[in-house]
Symmetry: C2
Subunit: 232 residues, 2 copies
């Protein structure tokens, strides 16, 4: 064991005095600002929407690495981990797909509130559903960035990394986004990326630039470090 004290000294003093401590503690909830200060970053959700095969998860994976290399904690959510977890009791009916996005929006919000950058990649084809997730974050005072990973259907279909377009064309899968179910393009995405016309590195650069220029990562109350120059 390390020599870190088991308890903050304040609590030991209270214990020695044998005072009922419930009120003391209830008075001082840990706030989101406390969490941000501790992790030296502000949580937010970056929501990647686009066709299957458009490169949402590829971008999220690259961004996760870039954030890590800059000392910023993030966590990826996508269909592959959520459909086997919290959403394993959901199918692919319209109702279930909407509930899928609702729950994932709530998990993203929890991560953002815990000061983590949630990187959420979901086709999320319906504008209403995406707007609801944004509203959920807005009402909690949490950041939400909608990133449209925009790719021509032909390109996404030619990639077909999971073989799903083939199944949709043959009728094996019904209600597949882009084939026999609509994809409602974002009207006012925070970031619009033509993933069929740029490299992943360029996409990462655009997202990182947006985050830095809008000062979305640093907690507002952290004082400058020595040698760090603040402009603006």
């Amino acid at each position: 064991m390390s020599n870190i004290p088991l308890l903050n000294i304040n609590y030991l003093v209270i214990m020695e005095k044998n005072v009922a401590t419930n009120i003391f503690w209830q008075d001082g909830f840990v706030t989101r600002e406390d969490r941000n200060r501790l992790l030296r970053q502000t949580g937010l959700t970056i929501w990647f929407t686009g066709l299957s095969g458009s490169g949402k998860t590829t971008l999220a994976i690259a961004l996760e690495q870039e954030l890590l290399s800059q000392g910023i904690a993030s966590y990826r959510l996508d269909g592959d981990n959520m459909r086997f977890g919290i959403n394993k009791n959901l199918g692919f009916s319209l109702e279930d797909r909407r509930e899928n996005i609702r729950r994932v929006g709530e998990v993203s919000k929890v991560l953002a509130d815990a000061s983590i950058i949630a990187l959420s990649s979901f086709i999320s084809p319906y504008r209403d559903d995406r707007d609801s997730v944004r509203a959920l974050h807005d009402s909690a005072g949490l950041g939400f960035l909608e990133v449209h990973v925009d790719c021509a259907l032909e390109t996404a279909e030619s990639r077909d990394p999971k073989g799903l377009y083939k199944k949709a064309r043959s009728g094996e899968i019904k209600n597949f986004t882009g084939i026999d179910d609509p994809y409602e393009k974002p009207i006012n995405a925070d970031i619009h990326l033509r993933s069929d016309k740029m490299t992943v590195a360029q996409e990462v650069l655009i997202v990182m630039t947006h985050l830095r220029q809008n000062d979305l990562l640093s907690p507002k109350s952290i004082p400058c470090e020595e040698g760090q120059k603040i402009s603006d």
Copy 2:
């Protein structure tokens, strides 16, 4: 803006060479160990189970403050925030209560996997449900601590912080744990606290001692810091 570089230099080099980068990035997923190292802690779930009014949330709030004061990031989940969020479409039927715990177990797991200490306070009266949440963590190689916040029914009922026992006795609420629905006490809780016989400070000390003695907080791969003594 600070003088932090917008992109790690590796990516810029790749961009200049105009190389397709998908494969490069897909090769190097960020791992849980990477996240643990970044936050200098290992995520786990501490699950508080006990009667309504037994002091689960009071303890979680005190522990959250103690962890913060030691520089450890945690996040509290309880009925009050989950029932208005991810579980807002659930009622109180047996089926819905079990689904409530299942989903909350999944959210706890996401937080723990993101290297955060999840502090989850739920009556969670059924042993099967708690064991499922533990199994979920076990199978993912994530830590799970079951803390039984054990309080005599008479004491919990006399506190009745939300006025729920009164409603249960009058029949206004049905299937209330401890009144007309069973509480299945843990058989092998990791920590058993008699919350009606000790102060919150004592409870916090017991939990913190358990965490430190079992070395549950520090990532295993972090080298000792100067001046830090490692025994065992």
